[in-house]
Protein backbone atom coordinates (compact mmCIF):
# COMPACT_ATOMS: atom_id res chain seq x y z
CA UNK A 1 0.00 0.00 0.00
CA UNK A 2 1.23 3.44 -0.90
CA UNK A 3 0.98 6.18 1.72
CA UNK A 4 1.90 9.80 1.12
CA UNK A 5 2.94 12.01 4.00
CA UNK A 6 2.66 15.72 3.28
CA UNK A 7 4.81 17.72 5.66
CA UNK A 8 4.47 21.49 5.81
CA UNK A 9 5.46 24.29 8.14
CA UNK A 10 2.79 25.11 10.69
CA UNK A 11 0.74 28.24 10.12
CA UNK A 12 2.52 31.12 11.80
CA UNK A 13 5.99 29.66 11.23
CA UNK A 14 7.79 31.93 8.79
CA UNK A 15 8.66 30.14 5.53
CA UNK A 16 11.51 32.17 3.99
CA UNK A 17 11.85 29.71 1.12
CA UNK A 18 8.16 30.08 0.28
CA UNK A 19 8.50 33.84 0.44
CA UNK A 20 11.47 33.83 -1.94
CA UNK A 21 9.56 31.64 -4.39
CA UNK A 22 6.55 33.94 -4.07
CA UNK A 23 8.74 36.90 -5.07
CA UNK A 24 10.15 34.91 -7.98
CA UNK A 25 6.65 34.09 -9.23
CA UNK A 26 5.76 37.77 -9.03
CA UNK A 27 8.93 38.52 -10.95
CA UNK A 28 7.65 36.22 -13.71
CA UNK A 29 4.50 38.29 -13.87
CA UNK A 30 2.12 36.06 -11.87
CA UNK A 31 0.42 38.68 -9.75
CA UNK A 32 -2.50 36.64 -8.43
CA UNK A 33 -0.51 34.47 -6.00
CA UNK A 34 -1.52 35.22 -2.42
CA UNK A 35 0.92 33.05 -0.53
CA UNK A 36 3.47 30.28 -1.11
CA UNK A 37 4.31 27.61 1.45
CA UNK A 38 6.87 24.93 0.72
CA UNK A 39 6.79 21.48 2.27
CA UNK A 40 7.90 17.98 1.45
CA UNK A 41 6.17 14.85 0.32
CA UNK A 42 7.31 11.48 1.61
CA UNK A 43 6.03 8.34 -0.08
CA UNK A 44 5.96 5.14 1.93
CA UNK A 45 5.29 1.71 0.49
CA UNK A 46 4.01 -0.21 3.51
CA UNK A 47 2.39 -3.54 4.27
CA UNK A 48 -1.34 -3.46 3.58
CA UNK A 49 -2.21 -4.15 7.22
CA UNK A 50 -0.22 -1.13 8.53
CA UNK A 51 -2.65 0.78 10.72
CA UNK A 52 -3.13 4.54 10.99
CA UNK A 53 -1.63 4.61 14.44
CA UNK A 54 1.67 3.15 13.25
CA UNK A 55 1.92 5.65 10.39
CA UNK A 56 1.10 8.46 12.78
CA UNK A 57 3.89 7.31 15.07
CA UNK A 58 6.35 7.33 12.15
CA UNK A 59 5.37 10.93 11.46
CA UNK A 60 5.64 12.05 15.06
CA UNK A 61 8.90 10.27 15.80
CA UNK A 62 10.84 11.00 12.63
CA UNK A 63 9.15 12.20 9.46
CA UNK A 64 7.92 15.53 10.81
CA UNK A 65 9.32 17.80 13.50
CA UNK A 66 6.10 18.76 15.23
CA UNK A 67 7.71 21.82 16.84
CA UNK A 68 7.58 23.53 13.45
CA UNK A 69 5.81 21.17 11.07
CA UNK A 70 2.39 19.65 10.62
CA UNK A 71 1.70 16.59 8.50
CA UNK A 72 -1.14 14.99 6.60
CA UNK A 73 -1.43 11.29 5.79
CA UNK A 74 -2.92 10.21 2.47
CA UNK A 75 -3.53 6.59 1.59
CA UNK A 76 -3.04 6.35 -2.16
CA UNK A 77 -3.94 2.69 -2.75
CA UNK A 78 -5.76 0.32 -0.49
Amino acid sequence: MLVRILVSLKPGVLDPQGRAVHHALEGLGYSGVRNVRIGRMIELDVDDDTDDDTIKQMCERLLANTVIESYRIERVQS
Binding site: V13, L14, P16, Q17, A20, L62, L63, N65, V67, I68
Partner: protein
Protein backbone atom coordinates in the same frame (compact mmCIF):
# COMPACT_ATOMS: atom_id res chain seq x y z
CA UNK B 1 42.57 15.95 38.18
CA UNK B 2 40.79 13.78 35.72
CA UNK B 3 38.38 15.00 33.13
CA UNK B 4 36.81 12.20 31.14
CA UNK B 5 35.23 13.75 28.09
CA UNK B 6 33.77 12.10 25.00
CA UNK B 7 33.29 13.57 21.53
CA UNK B 8 30.68 11.82 19.40
CA UNK B 9 31.27 11.39 15.66
CA UNK B 10 28.33 10.89 13.32
CA UNK B 11 28.76 10.17 9.62
CA UNK B 12 29.15 13.70 8.26
CA UNK B 13 30.43 15.33 11.45
CA UNK B 14 33.30 17.64 10.53
CA UNK B 15 34.05 19.62 13.70
CA UNK B 16 34.65 16.59 15.91
CA UNK B 17 38.41 17.00 15.69
CA UNK B 18 38.21 20.74 16.50
CA UNK B 19 36.08 19.91 19.54
CA UNK B 20 38.46 17.19 20.71
CA UNK B 21 41.42 19.54 20.19
CA UNK B 22 39.76 22.34 22.19
CA UNK B 23 39.03 19.93 25.04
CA UNK B 24 42.58 18.60 24.94
CA UNK B 25 44.13 22.10 24.95
CA UNK B 26 42.01 23.40 27.81
CA UNK B 27 41.87 20.27 29.99
CA UNK B 28 45.28 18.82 29.16
CA UNK B 29 43.63 15.45 28.63
CA UNK B 30 42.77 13.56 25.51
CA UNK B 31 39.01 13.12 25.13
CA UNK B 32 37.54 9.79 24.05
CA UNK B 33 36.22 9.59 20.51
CA UNK B 34 32.94 7.73 20.20
CA UNK B 35 31.34 6.48 16.99
CA UNK B 36 27.59 7.10 16.64
CA UNK B 37 26.88 3.41 15.95
CA UNK B 38 28.02 2.37 19.42
CA UNK B 39 25.10 1.51 21.64
CA UNK B 40 26.83 2.28 24.93
CA UNK B 41 28.95 5.06 26.35
CA UNK B 42 32.01 4.30 28.48
CA UNK B 43 31.37 4.47 32.24
CA UNK B 44 32.25 7.48 34.33
CA UNK B 45 32.07 10.18 31.66
CA UNK B 46 32.27 13.77 32.93
CA UNK B 47 31.20 15.37 29.71
CA UNK B 48 29.75 14.57 26.26
CA UNK B 49 30.16 16.81 23.20
CA UNK B 50 28.14 16.64 19.99
CA UNK B 51 30.15 18.40 17.29
CA UNK B 52 29.23 20.47 14.27
CA UNK B 53 29.01 19.21 10.73
CA UNK B 54 26.41 17.77 8.44
CA UNK B 55 25.44 14.46 10.03
CA UNK B 56 23.81 12.16 7.47
CA UNK B 57 24.13 14.95 4.90
CA UNK B 58 21.33 16.85 6.66
CA UNK B 59 18.87 14.34 5.14
CA UNK B 60 15.23 14.91 6.10
CA UNK B 61 16.08 17.76 8.52
CA UNK B 62 19.41 18.86 10.02
CA UNK B 63 20.11 16.54 12.95
CA UNK B 64 17.00 14.40 12.49
CA UNK B 65 18.77 11.21 11.46
CA UNK B 66 21.58 11.56 14.01
CA UNK B 67 18.98 12.06 16.75
CA UNK B 68 17.95 8.47 16.08
CA UNK B 69 21.48 7.02 16.05
CA UNK B 70 22.12 4.12 18.46
CA UNK B 71 24.39 6.26 20.67
CA UNK B 72 21.67 8.87 21.22
CA UNK B 73 19.67 6.62 23.52
CA UNK B 74 22.71 6.36 25.78
CA UNK B 75 23.27 10.14 25.57
CA UNK B 76 19.66 10.92 26.50
CA UNK B 77 19.93 8.62 29.49
CA UNK B 78 23.29 10.16 30.50
CA UNK B 79 21.77 13.66 30.23
CA UNK B 80 18.87 12.52 32.42
CA UNK B 81 21.39 11.36 35.02
CA UNK B 82 22.94 14.85 34.99
CA UNK B 83 26.02 14.30 32.81
CA UNK B 84 26.80 17.60 31.03
CA UNK B 85 26.05 17.44 27.31
CA UNK B 86 27.14 20.14 24.89
CA UNK B 87 26.00 20.44 21.27
CA UNK B 88 27.52 22.93 18.85
CA UNK B 89 25.93 23.82 15.51
CA UNK B 90 24.83 20.45 14.07
CA UNK B 91 25.17 19.14 17.63
CA UNK B 92 22.59 21.74 18.75
CA UNK B 93 20.29 20.62 15.92
CA UNK B 94 20.69 17.00 17.04
CA UNK B 95 19.87 17.92 20.67
CA UNK B 96 16.63 19.67 19.64
CA UNK B 97 15.66 16.80 17.34
CA UNK B 98 16.35 14.33 20.16
CA UNK B 99 14.10 16.35 22.48
CA UNK B 100 16.87 17.22 24.94
CA UNK B 101 16.41 20.91 24.19
CA UNK B 102 13.24 22.77 23.20
CA UNK B 103 12.65 24.44 19.84
CA UNK B 104 13.99 23.79 16.36
CA UNK B 105 16.67 25.19 14.04
CA UNK B 106 15.23 26.31 10.73
CA UNK B 107 16.79 27.55 7.50
CA UNK B 108 18.36 31.02 7.99
CA UNK B 109 15.81 33.74 7.33
CA UNK B 110 17.70 35.09 4.33
CA UNK B 111 18.36 31.57 2.98
CA UNK B 112 22.10 32.15 3.08
CA UNK B 113 24.90 30.10 4.57
CA UNK B 114 26.51 32.36 7.17
CA UNK B 115 30.23 31.94 7.79
CA UNK B 116 31.73 34.76 9.88
CA UNK B 117 32.50 35.94 13.39
CA UNK B 118 29.44 37.12 15.27
CA UNK B 119 29.08 39.11 18.44
CA UNK B 120 27.24 37.36 21.25
CA UNK B 121 26.01 38.51 24.64
CA UNK B 122 26.46 36.08 27.51
CA UNK B 123 22.91 36.24 28.88
CA UNK B 124 23.40 33.66 31.62
CA UNK B 125 26.80 33.51 33.30
CA UNK B 126 25.61 31.31 36.15
CA UNK B 127 25.61 28.01 34.28
CA UNK B 128 28.05 25.13 34.29
CA UNK B 129 29.13 26.22 30.82
CA UNK B 130 29.32 29.99 31.24
CA UNK B 131 30.48 30.67 34.82
CA UNK B 132 33.84 32.11 33.70
CA UNK B 133 32.20 34.82 31.62
CA UNK B 134 31.01 38.14 33.05
CA UNK B 135 27.31 38.93 33.10
CA UNK B 136 26.30 40.47 29.75
CA UNK B 137 29.86 40.07 28.46
CA UNK B 138 30.19 40.62 24.71
CA UNK B 139 32.20 37.92 22.97
CA UNK B 140 33.16 37.20 19.38
CA UNK B 141 32.67 33.61 18.20
CA UNK B 142 32.56 32.19 14.65
CA UNK B 143 29.39 30.78 13.12
CA UNK B 144 29.12 28.58 10.03
CA UNK B 145 25.61 27.42 9.38
CA UNK B 146 22.67 27.32 7.01
CA UNK B 147 20.07 26.17 9.52
CA UNK B 148 20.60 28.33 12.58
CA UNK B 149 17.30 30.15 12.74
CA UNK B 150 16.06 29.27 16.22
CA UNK B 151 12.32 28.79 16.49
CA UNK B 152 10.07 27.99 19.43
CA UNK B 153 6.54 29.14 20.21
CA UNK B 154 6.07 32.26 22.33
CA UNK B 155 5.11 30.28 25.42
CA UNK B 156 8.34 28.27 25.23
CA UNK B 157 10.41 31.40 24.56
CA UNK B 158 8.86 33.21 27.56
CA UNK B 159 9.61 30.18 29.70
CA UNK B 160 13.22 29.97 28.49
CA UNK B 161 13.78 33.65 29.21
CA UNK B 162 11.95 33.51 32.54
CA UNK B 163 14.06 30.60 33.73
CA UNK B 164 17.35 32.11 32.57
CA UNK B 165 17.81 29.36 30.02
CA UNK B 166 18.94 31.60 27.16
CA UNK B 167 22.71 31.25 27.52
CA UNK B 168 23.78 33.38 24.56
CA UNK B 169 22.10 35.93 22.36
CA UNK B 170 23.28 37.39 19.03
CA UNK B 171 23.96 41.12 19.34
CA UNK B 172 22.19 41.64 16.04
CA UNK B 173 19.82 39.65 13.88
CA UNK B 174 22.12 37.42 11.82
CA UNK B 175 19.88 34.50 10.93
CA UNK B 176 16.29 35.26 11.92
CA UNK B 177 16.42 33.47 15.29
CA UNK B 178 13.50 34.24 17.58
CA UNK B 179 14.59 36.85 20.14
CA UNK B 180 18.13 36.54 18.71
CA UNK B 181 18.72 33.35 20.66
CA UNK B 182 22.08 31.72 19.92
CA UNK B 183 22.22 29.10 22.68
CA UNK B 184 19.82 27.50 25.17
CA UNK B 185 20.04 25.35 28.29
CA UNK B 186 17.75 22.55 29.41
CA UNK B 187 15.72 22.91 32.61
CA UNK B 188 18.32 21.13 34.75
CA UNK B 189 21.15 23.26 33.30
CA UNK B 190 23.34 20.31 32.26
CA UNK B 191 22.57 20.43 28.52
CA UNK B 192 23.65 23.38 26.35
CA UNK B 193 23.15 23.78 22.63
CA UNK B 194 24.47 26.71 20.61
CA UNK B 195 24.96 27.52 16.93
CA UNK B 196 28.27 29.48 17.26
CA UNK B 197 31.52 27.50 17.53
CA UNK B 198 33.44 28.26 20.75
CA UNK B 199 35.83 25.40 19.91
CA UNK B 200 37.04 27.53 16.99
CA UNK B 201 38.00 30.42 19.26
CA UNK B 202 40.56 28.84 21.60
CA UNK B 203 43.97 30.01 20.42
CA UNK B 204 45.28 33.31 19.06
CA UNK B 205 45.82 31.61 15.70
CA UNK B 206 42.05 31.18 15.49
CA UNK B 207 41.67 34.96 15.42
CA UNK B 208 40.27 35.12 18.94
CA UNK B 209 40.10 33.22 22.21
CA UNK B 210 36.62 34.12 23.47
CA UNK B 211 35.48 30.48 23.31
CA UNK B 212 38.07 29.33 25.79
CA UNK B 213 36.17 30.51 28.88
CA UNK B 214 33.31 28.14 28.03
CA UNK B 215 35.61 25.12 28.24
CA UNK B 216 37.37 26.57 31.30
CA UNK B 217 33.99 27.07 33.00
CA UNK B 218 32.95 23.53 32.34
CA UNK B 219 36.24 21.90 33.25
CA UNK B 220 36.68 24.16 36.30
CA UNK B 221 33.19 23.46 37.59
CA UNK B 222 33.45 19.72 37.04
CA UNK B 223 36.88 19.35 38.53
CA UNK B 224 36.13 21.44 41.63
CA UNK B 225 32.74 19.74 42.13
Amino acid sequence: MTFRAAVITFPGSNCDRDMAEALRIVSGQEPLRIWHGDADLPDGLDFIALPGGFSYGDYLRSGAMAANSPIMRAIVSAADRGVPVFGVCNGFQVLTEAGLLPGALMRNARQNFICRDVELTVTNNQSLFTARYDAEQLISIPVAHHDGNYFADDETLDKLEGEGRVAFRYSEDYNGSQRQIAGVLNAAGNVLGMMPHPERAIEQAHGGTDGRALFESLIGELVSA
